[in-house]
């Protein structure tokens, strides 16, 4: 997994690429925790994300809850296979997907 960040005012975009699994999800959680102070809009760009297991979904949900208190979180560009995971788990209904 790789994360690249782009900050513009109070909007933070994080591009997550590769595999988000049990091993890498804690790194993402830590990176989000360290980067989101003062962020009002967090955009997670999943264009290059190939894989997400429940460990990754947990990070998306906990971050969504956290960001709801200080602004919002948006998920962009998930590929069709990952969209299907969001659909099956009901995450499509609770996350802001673009």
């Amino acid at each position: 997994m790789n994360i690249s960040k782009h900050n513009e005012g109070s909007t933070l975009t994080m591009e997550i690429s590769g595999r988000l699994d049990t091993t890498t999800a804690p790194e993402l959680e830590k990176e989000i925790g360290a980067s989101c102070e003062g962020t009002e809009k967090l955009i997670l760009d999943l264009k290059k994300l190939e894989y997400v297991s429940s460990a990754g979904l947990r990070v998306f949900l906990s971050t969504h809850k956290k960001m709801s208190k200080q602004g919002s979180m948006v998920i962009r560009n998930a590929n069709p296979d990952i969209m299907e995971i969001f659909d099956v788990t009901g995450f499509s209904d609770i996350l802001n997907l673009e």
Partner: protein
């Protein structure tokens, strides 16, 4: 018969996935099916690693074979008897605030595999799943 005997430790996840991917790629597995199988194997392996032997350590035997166009995968451990299929499904209609962070792994496995089965035999937990690997 391809098998891997490995310590039930999440640090071994990439070796487990590498073993499964090697077999799936030899058999021209469709990419989407491969991702779904990898996720299912990850969820079940991590479950065993986190709960089966706690606080001790132990091994998992993983087998993966392709029969009649389907991958047949088993995970066998000698830890605490536990039927993961008995875990109630999460309520996926709840709002984000009400949703619990967790409990999704086995649910994803049940939804993405063609069949799943659990058996406790000779002191061992045996979990079997199958998935068609073609288009």
């Amino acid at each position: 018969m391809s098998e891997l005997l490995i310590k039930a430790d999440t640090a071994n996840l990439s070796d487990v996935i590498g073993f499964i991917d090697g077999i799936l790629e030899e058999n021209d597995c469709h990419m989407k099916a491969q991702m779904q199988i990898d996720i299912a194997v990850e969820e079940m392996f991590v479950n065993v690693a986190n709960y089966a032997y706690t606080p001790d350590e132990g091994d998992v035997l993983i087998t993966c074979n392709v029969e009649n166009g389907s991958a047949v995968i088993t995970l066998t451990d000698s830890g605490t008897p536990y039927d993961p299929l008995k875990k109630p499904d999460p309520d996926i209609t709840l709002s984000a605030e009400e949703r619990q962070v967790g409990g999704l792994g086995i649910f994803m496995v049940k939804k993405s595999m063609d069949s799943v089965a659990y058996e406790y035999k000779d002191g061992k937990n045996i979990f079997t799943m199958t998935k068609k690997i073609g288009m």
